[in-house]
Structure formats: structure tokens, C-alpha cells
């Protein structure tokens, strides 16, 4: 499969639908698994990594799954294609650019499930859903895990559970993450309060691209830190409970905004659309900040003619690798800012002509 065919698609996590999608962008669950008879990826020889890849490919080909997974080899992939898959949340930055040797990723055409091979762990299974859907995501990944396990012998320990290269993932190997759009809590300066409460109960808050990344465009990922000593259901239940509380806070903050400064919000949304539609140079960060304002405007019904999916489309297509694929050649920083502005202007004009 040529990766360019994915370009016009939105991918599962950006469909903009699903439960609570006014606040919850997407849900992700990943499972870390290792094969029993090999050293962890960090200590495996290139020959062993090749064997691991072929075993996993063979297992994927033989098991019955509700979707077809296609395997893509990372070392033979261009830097641009790797970055493209990172932007689509199908592979990690580590798999793309830091790790070495035989490695790759298998994913389905809907981009709802992916399996990274030879990341920090031999296998990193991931399921993505749009909206707040931890139970559905768990049902899917549990099945995927069972199917692979029927063909592959996992490293499992009677006391410690699923063994992982890093002890912070051992046990269930499960990380559940929910991506939230929290512009109103940001505007009313309540966001720190919320996150301080989260840290007390061992949940982590990260930016869009995971560990160490800044939170752009009011997007935050909430995920569990503890993986040992609690069942999968319990871990997911704890995340769920917290998300429901944050949802409530964000909706309250939005209600206050509408009550106390509707006119000012209307103005902010109109200006954000104006800048997006008329700039001739624009960075990815500024684009994300402005799209965040527009997204909030849509959910507050301050604008009627821009669909939520259009914001997601603009959001993904204006990221560096996507933009270069759209244009068809490499662009440096300044050229990217110009190309981004040009793309936004054209797309918003299209949207406007349907008004």
C-alpha cells in the first residue's frame, strides 16, 4: 500500500464523532507485549529482530481479525513517510527516528488498530477510537491480543504478569489515553487546578504527541501510570471516572463563557477564522491555537457553517509531513509556513462557498 492513499482520509481518531465528542477527541489503548524466547528489543541482535518481525508478520497473516492489517517496514521507509505516520498517531517518534534495525508497523485501512514491532517492546498493540470509548477500545484490543497470543508465546510471569523492557509498563502492559479538548478550562485559568488533582491519583497529563510534548491547541492526553496490581477493567474504570469529572468541569466553564462573555467569544471565533483564512505565513502552533478557538466556536454553536470534521481535517493536513505530501515535495520551515497558509486559505474558501 502506498502511504499516499491515506492522505485524504481522516483516520479513526480524527473522525470527530463518538461519545462526548464535544470535549473528548479520541480514545487510545495500547498493550506492551514481548515474545518469550528473545531478549528485549534493546538487547536483541539484528538477526533476532529480523526473526521477531517475521514471526509477528506470520502471526498477523494467519490469525482471524475483523480487519486486515498491512505491514510496513520502517527502515526502508523515507523520513517523510515515517513522520507522516507519526502525525497520524500510527507509530511513535522512537520507532520512526530513534530506534535502529529491523522494525515496522502493521495497521488497518481505517487506521483504528496498529501493531508496532521492535519498538521498546517487541510488540506494541494500539487501538484508536474517536470520542470517549474506552470499553469499545478495550474489547477490540483484547480480541487482537488474544488472536496474536494464539500464535505467539508471550513473556509472562506468574507474579509480575506481562513482562516489559521497562518496569513502568509491567503487569497489564496497558496504557489507556484519552485526548481531551479543554479550551474553556484554559481560558478561565482552571486547567492547573484540574491537573494537580490528577497527579494526586497517579494519572499522567501529556501534550498531543505524548511524553515531553507541550500541550498545543488546548489538547491534553490523560493516561494511567500504574500498570501492575490492578486489573485492566479497574485501570480503565479509574480513567473513566476522572474523565467524567473533567468533562463536567469543561462544560461548566463553557456555560459560564456563554453566559458572561458570549459576544467576546463570538468575536474571538470570527477573528480566528479570519486569520486562518487570510494569513500568508502561519506556523503549525498558531494554526493549532486558532483551530482550537474555531473548534470551541462550533461546539458553542457560535458558528453554524463549519463542520467539526473540517477542523480535524485542517488540523491533520497542516502538519509538516502532511503538508509536504500535499504539495508533493520537501519544504523548509519558511516554505512550510507559506504553504500552510495557502492551504488553509483555499480550504476555508471552499467551505465558505457552500455557505
Amino acid at each position: 500500500m502506498n502511504l499516499d492513499t491515506l492522505l485524504p482520509n481522516l483516520g479513526e481518531w480524527l473522525r470527530g464523532t463518538g461519545p462526548e465528542s464535544d470535549v473528548v477527541v479520541s480514545t487510545r489503548i495500547r498493550l506492551a507485549r514481548n515474545l518469550a524466547d528473545y531478549p528485549f528489543t534493546g538487547r536483541a541482535t539484528p538477526a533476532q529482530k529480523t526473526e521477531i518481525v517475521s514471526k509477528v508478520k506470520d502471526a498477523i497473516a494467519r490469525v482471524e481479525l475483523p480487519f486486515k492489517l498491512d505491514y510496513h517496514d520502517v527502515p526502508s521507509m523515507s523520513v517523510l513517510d515515517r513522520q507522516f505516520l507519526v502525525e497520524r498517531q500510527l507509530i511513535s517518534r522512537e520507532l520512526a527516528a530513534v530506534l535502529e534495525g529491523p522494525r515496522g508497523v502493521a495497521f488497518d485501512v481505517k487506521e483504528s488498530a496498529s501493531i508496532m514491532v521492535n519498538e521498546e517492546d517487541h510488540l506494541r498493540l494500539q487501538v484508536l477510537r474517536s470520542g470517549f470509548a474506552l470499553d469499545d477500545a478495550w474489547a477490540d484490543i483484547d480480541k487482537l491480543d488474544d488472536a496474536l497470543e494464539s500464535r505467539l508465546a508471550y513473556a509472562f510471569h506468574a507474579q509480575f504478569g506481562y513482562l516489559t523492557a521497562c518496569p513502568t509498563n509491567v503487569g497489564t502492559g496497558l496504557r489507556g489515553s484519552v485526548m481531551l479538548h479543554l479550551p474553556a478550562l484554559g481560558l478561565t485559568k482552571q486547567i492547573d487546578k484540574v491537573f494537580r488533582a490528577l497527579q494526586k491519583i497517579n494519572l499522567a497529563v501529556r501534550g498531543l504527541h505524548g511524553e515531553g510534548s507541550r500541550a498545543f491547541g488546548d489538547l491534553y492526553q490523560i493516561s494511567n501510570q500504574v500498570t501492575l496490581g490492578k486489573s485492566e477493567q479497574k485501570i480503565l474504570g479509574e480513567i473513566k471516572e476522572v474523565i467524567l469529572t473533567i468533562l463536567q468541569y469543561e462544560r461548566q466553564a463553557r456555560a459560564v463563557l456563554m453566559k458572561e462573555r458570549k459576544q467576546a467569544e463570538q468575536d474571538r471565533v470570527a477573528r480566528a477564522l479570519g486569520t486562518l483564512g487570510s494569513a500568508t505565513m502561519i506556523t503549525a502552533e498558531e494554526t493549532m491555537e486558532l483551530l482550537s478557538v474555531v473548534r470551541l466556536g462550533i461546539h458553542l454553536r457560535l458558528i453554524e457553517d463549519v463542520p467539526a470534521t473540517a477542523v480535524n481535517q485542517l488540523f491533520i493536513q497542516t502538519q509538516a509531513a502532511h503538508l509536504q505530501k500535499l504539495v508533493g515535495h520537501a519544504l523548509d520551515g519558511e516554505e512550510r509556513n507559506a504553504a500552510r497558509a495557502k492551504y488553509l486559505k483555499a480550504r476555508l474558501r471552499d467551505l465558505g462557498s457552500h455557505r
Partner: protein, 159 residues
């Protein structure tokens, strides 16, 4: 006292033994302490005059804790934060238990078990879960259910 790395309150006070009668005190909050415990010890070498101390730490490390399967030492694991292979979990078990307790607040898995796991491993894992369950049932004074769990434990232990 404030954490030395972030504005939170320091709740863990770690005394690093750097060699003969040389100590370093570190005051950290829980989160920073977790990170600290995984940090490469070598970072300390960067401090002026501290180089011989790092060597001393290496020499002081118990030589016995080496994984027979992949050959990494516990110190190597501490330095990189990553294990070499699945056998490390048994090779370093005594050192790992306090680490698991501080990271996860627990030392035993309580979740999914692979269907293909050998019967003994499955039984072991189930035993661990049942013992936890028994403990909490007793705390909740639900003795009737506790008795059933106790019988199941006996059954597994004798099989």
C-alpha cells in the same frame, strides 16, 4: 521542605551513599523521586570532583546480581532503566520488589492472563489474585465469600 526539582512538597528524603563516609541528601516529591530512581547514576559524574565517587559506586555494587540469560547487571539496568530480557525479573527480584512498590504501589499482577500460559503460571497468577481478594474480603468482613475463596486457594495449592 520543597522538592528540589519542582515546586511541589518534598515527601521523600533520599540519602545516597557515595562511598566512604560521603553522603548526599536529596529531597524530592513522589513523582520526581520515581524519575530520580530511574535516572542514570552516571549523571552524577558530571559534577566537578565527583568522578571517583561514581567509580566507587560501581565497585560497591553487589557483583552477584547479574542475569544468567542476557548478562546485564542490576547496575546496568539502574543506569538505563531498561531490562535486557525477561529473565531479569527473576534475576533481580529482591532488588525489584521495592522498586515495583514505589512505582506501582503493588508487586503482583492482577489482570489478564494469556490463555497459553503454562498451567502452573496460570494457577500461580490466580493464586496471587485470590489471596488479594481474600485479604480485602476479610477487611470488609464478608466472611462467607472469604471462606469460598479460601477453599479455592487450598484447592489450587494442593493441585
Amino acid at each position: 521542605m520543597k522538592c528540589q526539582r519542582c515546586p511541589k512538597q518534598a515527601t521523600l528524603h533520599i540519602t545516597e551513599v557515595l562511598g566512604e563516609e560521603r553522603f548526599e541528601e536529596v529531597h524530592l516529591c513522589e513523582d520526581c523521586a520515581k524519575k530520580y530512581l530511574y535516572e542514570p547514576q552516571l549523571k552524577k559524574q558530571a559534577k566537578p570532583g565527583a568522578a571517583p565517587v561514581a567509580d566507587a559506586v560501581v565497585e560497591d555494587a553487589p557483583a552477584g546480581t547479574k542475569c544468567p540469560a542476557c548478562g546485564i547487571t542490576f547496575l546496568e539496568f539502574r543506569n538505563h532503566g531498561r531490562f535486557g530480557c525477561a529473565h531479569d525479573y527473576d534475576a533481580f527480584k529482591p532488588e525489584l520488589l521495592p522498586l515495583m512498590e514505589s512505582v506501582h504501589g503493588d508487586t503482583s499482577h492482577a489482570g489478564k492472563i494469556p490463555r497459553r500460559a503454562p498451567r502452573t503460571a496460570t494457577a500461580q497468577a490466580e493464586l496471587g489474585q485470590l489471596r488479594q481478594r481474600l485479604q480485602s474480603l476479610i477487611e470488609e468482613e464478608k466472611y462467607e465469600e472469604a471462606a469460598r475463596i479460601r477453599d479455592r486457594i487450598k484447592e489450587l495449592e494442593t493441585s
